[in-house]
């Protein structure tokens, strides 16, 4: 029997509209109804507040490209943020705090990868388990209390500027550049595409899909560690619910950005735009005094609208 020819998929640039239309529409909407939304100070604020999510959503893109998921990211970020706070408080060193956060994050990421790759536990279940573990550990190390009195060097990271650009934005841009290079210009990046697209091809090329998969999840945990520093700096304290629900926003941003949950079809720039769209939405709703419950619901609507627009385009 003759098979139908493979229907060609839109290339990444034909996909801009889904997420870009949504982003532009949101900016226009809140520019019109939210007082002060378009002020330079507020727009800068939106970007600064999007940096933590950027650091989670970029590795989440890679994980989703492998047909995986990491539900533990928010909880791991809470834990690493607490570690940063506790260690920097004890040693008075921001750097040691960061190292502690990265170590804990990388450990959790590696465990996630190991559970998924070696034990073959579905990513949804495996990372739900580590989510619980990270949440429990957060309550234990913090005793359920905020960790306050941390050195001002930590807090200063959030407010400092480099060449007039807020340091968090610089960090997010560096992260984006690093992920872009990693995904599109390294061998490892090619193998990430293959992990979701055709694992057999990797085996035929003599590569170990399992080790690559562990590495992808480990990168996610490591980034949660770095983002933990920013979170602690932002709140000027360690808080046992700091990262609550961030994995939801991260997955939403990836989905809004047009990365597919199948066959290794990912797009980093889309994820970045998706992060900003989520940030604009939350900021705008804040400005018009909507409670956070409405914000969560709105992010859900955002995902559906963006994917609907993509669906319309690909059918057209």
């Amino acid at each position: 029997m003759r098979e139908a020819a493979v229907v060609s998929q839109p290339n990444p640039f034909q996909r801009i509209p889904g997420v870009a239309i949504v982003l532009v529409a949101l900016i226009v909407l809140f520019g019109a109804i939210a007082p002060g939304f378009l002020s330079a100070a507020n727009l800068s604020n939106v970007l600064v507040q999007s940096t933590i999510l950027t650091m989670l959503a970029l590795p989440m893109t890679l994980i989703i490209m492998t047909e995986g998921l990491d539900l533990s990211m928010g909880a791991v970020l809470t834990l690493t943020s607490l570690c940063v706070a506790i260690v920097s408080l004890a040693t008075q060193s921001m750097l040691l705090g960061l190292c502690a956060g990265i170590a804990v994050g990388a450990a959790f990421g590696t465990i996630n990868g190991w559970l998924v790759a070696i034990l073959g536990i579905p990513p949804f279940v495996a990372t739900l388990g580590t989510l619980g573990m990270a949440q429990g550990l957060s309550l234990i190390v913090s005793d359920g209390q905020s960790v306050v009195g941390i050195p001002h060097t930590v807090r200063d990271i959030y407010s400092a500027t480099l060449l007039g650009i807020p340091v968090p934005i610089v960090m997010a841009l560096v992260t984006y550049a690093a992920f872009h290079g990693l995904l599109y210009h390294t061998r490892f990046g090619s193998y990430v595409f293959a992990l979701g697209g055709n694992r057999e091809a990797l085996r035929y090329a003599g590569l170990s899909p399992n080790r690559l998969l562990i590495a992808v999840y480990a990168i996610g945990g490591t980034m949660a560690g770095i983002a933990g520093l920013l979170m602690t700096a932002r709140m000027n304290s360690g808080h046992p619910t700091a990262g609550l629900g961030l994995e939801f926003d991260a997955i939403a941003a990836v989905a809004v950005g047009g990365t597919s949950f199948e066959r290794g079809n990912g797009w980093l720039l889309g994820t970045l735009l998706g992060v900003i769209a989520v940030g604009v939405l939350r900021n705008g709703l804040n400005l018009i005094s909507m409670p956070s419950s409405v914000q969560v619901a709105s992010v859900g609507v955002l995902v559906i609208v963006a994917l609907f627009l993509d669906g319309l385009r690909s059918r057209a």
Binding site: M1, V6, T186, A201, L207
Partner: protein, 511 residues
């Protein structure tokens, strides 16, 4: 096809040493002897056709060749030297590459990255890819095989034929000297087929040997330097195309031994018309299908795997949308959805009954009544005792070997699972049973019971449409048969014309 005819003459095997030789290869699976003492020689620069019916052992031989299967017995010789092939890595080292029908490409990487996956040229920064070099290397390779395309194109945007070209480029880049192609033209248009043949001619001229599995007679004769025919896992003969006729090849392929008798009481005269399919075309690739089935008949639907048999069944059942044509069932037109077809009395008993026909973890009783719930309990309330009675009745009627209706279906033998599927449709009041490979995975004794059961069903006024790759079974059990080829009905065989040879003749591509 003109390109194929101008190919270089085959090398003379009297003087040449075979590039690769297999001697006495055997491979057994539980209950099946897939390969039985098969020998096979491949000479440099030849296209060696592998011919045989479904299940003759072509795929097994191919998998032994590329190291995917480990042979139970037999020897391999590469350029006259004894070698072992126990893994795909062994095969790769000997320069053997398989062009899979299921492509081994990564959809969202570009052509160059796919060709050199795992062997990317290193860039200046550790871990990076030398982009300029990978594109240049790929371009050179693509030029070599005559495929004019930009190597930075994402593979997912390519058509089937172009992906196949990328696969071939990938194989060549790994210094493959032996290419194994499994029905490479099955998914190609005529124009694409010509390009592939031109490429094969070029590869041959470079001394690359090709093992080519095909069901199309025209290809076998225009492309092949030599033909090996397999049947029942055994090598029947090795011939040159010039020395045989298509008819002789067909005769070599058929003639499977019958190791059992099939019970069948043929009706004296056919019953009334139950199913009438007129000009049916569906998006799944079948076109202009005309079929009739009468009460009391078992009608065969044969042809090669992939000829569209299952697609016809799915279209009649409403599982695939039809684009044109008409299906008249029991005097009234039927269209649309599987639940409509099921309610009207059409039963589809799929090949993969584990995934499509049964809830394996539920009980025999639950499975038997699930399709009949609407009929048995019109009020919507389930009455366990009445359900139990129905299930017990069916277990007796169909002689299902189970300790009780409460037994988990997954624990029954294949034959008894098949009976549960039939019983389920019987309870729902089915009149037409469409069987897709009803005896697959069932042992010989159970086969004969299943056929006896089908025979009883049609004797009581039902009808059956039976898809089977087992031509012996079709010949013994069916009143008549339709033969499919490439999405169309290639011919109809009445009871007195129903022979294996005729089925194969109609099923092969002669054009």
């Amino acid at each position: 096809m003109s390109t194929a005819l101008q190919m270089a003459p085959a090398p003379n095997e009297v003087t040449a040493t075979p590039l690769l030789e297999l001697r006495g290869i055997s491979k057994e699976f539980p209950g099946v002897k897939a390969l039985d003492d098969v020998s096979f020689a491949l000479y440099p620069g030849e296209v060696h056709m592998l011919l045989g019916e479904n299940g003759a052992g072509k795929s097994s031989l191919m998998k032994v060749l590329c190291g995917a299967y480990k042979a139970d017995a037999g020897e391999f010789f590469h350029k006259g030297e004894k070698v072992t092939i126990t893994s795909t890595a062994d095969a790769q080292k000997l320069g053997i590459a398989v062009i899979f029908q299921e492509f081994s490409l990564v959809p969202y990487l570009d052509i160059a990255q796919n060709i050199f996956l795992g062997r990317e040229p290193k860039g200046r920064i550790p871990g990076t890819i030398d982009r300029r070099k990978i594109l240049a290397d790929a371009k050179r390779l693509l030029d070599m095989i005559g495929f004019d395309i930009d190597p930075s194109v994402i593979v997912n945007t390519l058509g089937v034929a172009q992906q196949q070209m990328v696969e071939i480029a990938k194989a060549i880049s790994q210094n493959a000297r032996i290419l194994v192609m499994d029905e490479p033209t099955a998914a190609l248009s005529d124009r694409e087929t010509e390009l592939l043949f031109a490429l094969i001619a070029r590869l041959k001229a470079d001394g690359v040997s090709i093992v080519y599995i095909s069901h199309r007679m025209a290809e076998v004769f225009s492309l092949g330097d030599r033909i090996t025919v397999l049947r029942d896992g055994r090598r029947i003969d090795g011939v040159r195309p010039a020395d045989v006729t298509p008819d002789q090849l067909v005769r070599m392929m058929v003639g499977r031994t019958v190791d059992m008798t099939y019970p069948r009481n043929f009706a004296d005269k056919p019953g009334e018309l139950l199913l009438q399919v007129k000009g049916l075309t569906s998006s799944s690739g079948i076109s202009d299908i005309n079929i009739e089935v009468r009460r009391g008949e078992i009608v065969g639907l044969c042809g090669l795997v992939g000829s569209g048999r299952s697609e016809v069944a799915r279209a009649i059942f409403g599982a695939d949308p039809t684009t044109s044509g008409e299906i008249i069932f029991d005097g009234k037109p039927i269209s649309g959805e599987p639940d409509v077809a099921a309610r009207r009395g059409i039963a589809l008993i799929p090949e993969s009954r584990k995934s499509e026909g049964l809830a394996l973890l539920r009980s025999v009783g639950d499975n038997l009544v699930v399709s009949a719930l609407r009929k048995l309990f019109p009020s919507g309330l389930f009455d366990p005792r009445s359900g139990q009675r129905t299930a017990d009745g069916l277990i007796r009627q169909l002689r299902i070997a189970t300790p009780s209706a409460r037994q988990t279906v997954g624990l029954l033998s294949g034959g008894n699972q098949q009976k549960v599927v039939i019983g389920k449709w019987l309870a729902a009041g089915a009149k037409l049973f469409i069987f897709d490979e009803p005896t697959r995975g069932i042992d010989v004794g159970a086969k004969s019971e299943i056929f006896a059961l089908i025979d009883r069903l049609v004797a009581e006024g039902a009808a059956a449409l039976m898809i089977s790759s087992e031509q012996v079974e079709i010949c013994h059990v069916c009143d008549r048969a339709y033969v499919m080829r490439e999405g169309r009905v290639a011919g109809h065989l009445a009871r007195n014309e129903l022979t294996e040879e005729n089925i194969v003749r109609l099923g092969m591509h002669h054009a």
